[in-house]
Amino acid sequence: MSATTHDDGPVLTGEPIAPTTLGGKAVAGSAAWMDDRISGSNFVRRSLNKVFPDHWSFMLGEVALYSFVILLLTGTYLTFFYDASTREVIYAGSYLPMKGITMSQAYASSLDISFDVRGGLLMRQIHHWAALLFMASIVVHLFRVFFTGAFRKPREINWVIGVLLMILGIVEGFAGYSLPDDLLSGTGLRIAYSIMLSIPVVGTWVAFLVFGGEYPGDAIIERLYAIHILLVPGIILGLITAHLMLVWYNKHTQFAGPGRTEDNVIGSRLFPAYAAKAGGFFFLVFGVLAALGGFAQINPIWNYGPYDPSQVSAGSQPDWYVGWLDGSSRLMPNYEIRELGHTIPLNILLPAVVMPGILFTLMIVYPWLESRFTGDKGYHNILDRPRDVPVRTAVGVMSITFYVVLLLSGGNDIIAHVFRVSVNHTTYAGRIGLFVLPPLAYVLTKRVCYALQRSDEELLHHGIESGTIRRLPSGEFIEETVPMPVPQRLALRGVESDRPMLQGPTAHGVEGHATGPGHGDLHMVETAPAKVRGFFFEKKASGSTAAPRPESSTPELETSGRPSQPE
C-alpha cells in the first residue's frame, strides 16, 4: 500500500478517530513515530484506524489472497529444484517403476521433487491444492460481490480487476499444470494447441508462434515456465495491489444495519482487531492447505508417466477451473465447416473460444449492463440483500447453473463410471440440461426471493412469534408476537432504515412501505424508465407496495457531510 496514492476518498467520512484499546494506544504511539519520520502527515495512524465492517462473507476474498501468498512461497521452493528443459534424460532417481526410462528433464526433475527432495512432495501438493483453492476462493468471492451488488458504482473498476484476476488465474494454473511434462500435461497442451489451430485465418500462425513450431516442439515448456513464474504472477501481483488499493480508497461496503448509512463505515478498526483476525485467518488457510497437501494426494505424476504422444489415460481431465471448457467441448456436437480447402472446426471453435469469449465479456461489462437496465447511476456503499433484487439474483443463479452443467459435463466419464450410468446418457443429459436448467433456475430463484421478501415483511409488520400462548376472554388461543428489535428491523429494511422516522419502535407499523434497497434507491426513480426498473427490482410482497411513499421525494445524496452514527 503506497503512501502517495492514498487519500481518504471523497465519498465517505465518519471513521472513528481516537483509538481506545490498549493495543490501539501502543500502536498509535509508534504510528506517530513513523509519521514523524516518513510522511509528516498522520497517514499511518489514519491507516491503522481504518475501519472494516464485519461480515463473514467479506473474508472470502482474503482466502484468495492468502492462497496466493502460499502459492508464491511454495512455488519459490519448487523453482529451486525444477528444471524446465525438454532435454532427454534417463531416469535414475528412487522411484522404481521409472528406473531407466527415457524422459524429459522437466519430468525427471518433477519426479525428483516428489521422491528425492526433502519436503518436495509436500510442497508440490500444497502448491497444487493452493492453486485449486485460489481459483475456488476467487469464484466464491465473486459470487459474494455479485449477489450483494458490491460491483456497483463506484466499484466497477474493482469488479473488472477481479474478473481479470480470475482469467489470469486460469492461465497461470494451466501453465503450471503443463510444467511437470507428464502425460496429463501433454494431453492438455495438445488440446490447447488444437484450440489455437481452430481459430480461423490466424490459428496456425498463433499456434506456431506460441509453441515455436509444430506441436509439441521443444520450446513450449521453457516458455510456459517463464510465463508461470514471472509474467503472470507479476501481473497478478500488480492487479491484486490495485484491487486492494481500490478497496482502501473506496472503503469497504457494508450491509444495512443500525447506524449504517451510505456515508459511513461501521466495523472493527484495522488495528488491532481486524489485523489480528486477518492474521489468524492466514494461518487457518495455511492449515487447511497443509492438511490437504499432507493427507490428500494430488496430481500423482508418477502414475501418469512421461508425456508420450501415443498414450492417453482414461479420465484425463484438466484442473477444475478449466473443466467447464472441457465440458462445453464434450457437449458440442461434431460440426465442421469445409470451405475453399479450409476446415473450420466449429466443434472446438465454438465451445472453447467463442463461448468463453462471450461469457468473459459479459462478465466484465455486467456492472454497466445492469446500470443501463435499471437506470441506476448512483453510488452504493450499502449492499443489497440478494432477495431484495430478485432479477439480479436470478440471473446469477441462472449463470451458475449453466456453469455447473458445463463443469459436470467435463467430468461426465468419471460420473458415468462411479454412478454406473452410460456416458452417452450423461452427454445427452448435459445437452438438454444446459438449455433447460438455467431458465428453470432463474424462475425458481425469483420465486424464492419473493417468498423471502414476504416473510421479512411478515416479521416487520407482525413481529416475532414469542412462544407465549394466551387465551382470550372469548376462549380463542393466540400466540403473542413481540415487535422485532430495532437493529434487526433496520437490517431488513435496507438503505432507508437510516431515515429518522424509522428509528425506534414507533416505526413499527408504518404502513404503505415497500422495504428494501430497491425502493430506497431514489435516483433511479428519477432516471430509469419505470417499466425496466420495475422488472429488475420487481417485488411481489404483500399489497403494501402499491402506495407511493411520501418521503420518496427527497433523494438521498451520495456525497459526504453526514457524521457517522456509531451505535
Binding site: M59, L60, P97, G305, A314
Partner: protein, 260 residues
C-alpha cells in the same frame, strides 16, 4: 515389493499343484474318459483327476447356461476352445457364475476356491484347448517396462492409476485393484468383453509378465501422496477443494465472524 513377491510365491505353489494334479489326473482319466468327446484333441495322458473334478463342478454350477457339453445355449456362449485362461479370468474374479440382467458381468466375491478354479479350467481346457497361463511366476517381469507397456496398452481404458473408466453405452473397464496376478495375466490372454485380446504375438510372455508385475505394484504398493481419492485424477481433486477446502474455510469464517 514384499507383497508382490509373496504373491508370486503363492502363485508358483499353485502352479506346482496344478502340474501335480494334471499328472495324477492323467492316469485316472486313462480309465475314465468322458464319452461325448467329439472335440477331444488332448492325448489321454494330459487328462486328469482335475478334469473329472472340474467336470462335476461344471455340471452343477455352469451347465445350466453353458450347456451340458459346453456347447452353449440360451443362457451363455459355448466354452469349447476358450481355454483355461478364460476360466481363470471369469471364475477367479467372481464374474462367473453370472447373475442375469447386467450390461456387463461385474466382478463379485468368487464362488470357487483357487483349486476349484483350476479344476474347472482343466476340464474346459480338456475340451477344445485354448490359451493357458504360462508356467512359473507371473510377476517376474521388468517393472519399468511393465509400466511403459501398461500406459501404452491399458491406461486408455483402465486409467493410468488403474482406477478404471467408462466406455460407451454403459460399458466400463473395471478398476484393477482387486485383480490377482493370475486374473491380470488371464485378462490379457482372454480379452473379455470390449477388452482387446493380447495374444503372444502382440505382447510376448515376458511383456505380459512385466505388465502383470507393474499392475500388481501400482495397485497394491500404496501411493506416496496420502489418500489417493480413488485415483480418478482432477475431478475428485476439484470436488475435494470445494467440499473440504472452501467448505471448511467458510465454516471457519463464520466462526471468526461470530467472534467479532
Amino acid at each position: 515389493m514384499s507383497t508382490i513377491s509373496r504373491a508370486s510365491d503363492r502363485i508358483s505353489r499353485y502352479g506346482v499343484l496344478l502340474l501335480a494334479l494334471t499328472l495324477v489326473g492323467g492316469l485316472y482319466t486313462a480309465f475314465y474318459a468322458p464319452k461325448s468327446s467329439a472335440t477331444e484333441q488332448q492325448p489321454a495322458s494330459s487328462q486328469s483327476m482335475a478334469v473329472k473334478e472340474g467336470r462335476d463342478l461344471f455340471l452343477t454350477g455352469c451347465s445350466t447356461c453353458h450347456g451340458l457339453n459346453l456347447q452353449g445355449g440360451a443362457g451363455g456362449p459355448t466354452l469349447i476352445g476358450v481355454g483355461a485362461s478364460a476360466v481363470v479370468f471369469q471364475v477367479e474374479s467372481g464374474r462367473m457364475p453370472l447373475n442375469a440382467g447386467e450390461v456387463q458381468a461385474p466382478r463379485k466375491q468368487p464362488k470357487y476356491s483357487v483349486a476349484e478354479v483350476d479344476q474347472l479350467a482343466a476340464y474346459i481346457q480338456s475340451r477344445g484347448g485354448g490359451p493357458t497361463l504360462p508356467p512359473g511366476s507371473l510377476t517376474d517381469g521388468d517393472l519399468a517396462m511393465g509400466g511403459e507397456l501398461f500406459r501404452t496398452n491399458c491406461a486408455s481404458c483402465h486409467n493410468a492409476g488403474g482406477a478404471g473408466g467408462a466406455l460407451t453405452y454403459g460399458k466400463y473397464a473395471p478398476k484393477l485393484q482387486p485383480a490377482s496376478p493370475r486374473v491380470i495375466y488371464a485378462a490379457m490372454q482372454h480379452g473379455p468383453e470390449s477388452m482387446p485380446r493380447f495374444g503372444d504375438n502382440q505382447l510376448s510372455v515376458a511383456e505380459k509378465k512385466s505388465i502383470t508385475r507393474y499392475v500388481s505394484y501400482l495397485t497394491k504398493a500404496g501411493q506416496p501422496g496420502g489418500n489417493d481419492l480413488g485415483r480418478f485424477g482432477p475431478v475428485p481433486e476439484g470436488l475435494v477443494v470445494w467440499l473440504v477446502g472452501i467448505g471448511s474455510l467458510v465454516v471457519l469464517t463464520l466462526w471468526i465472524g461470530n467472534r467479532a
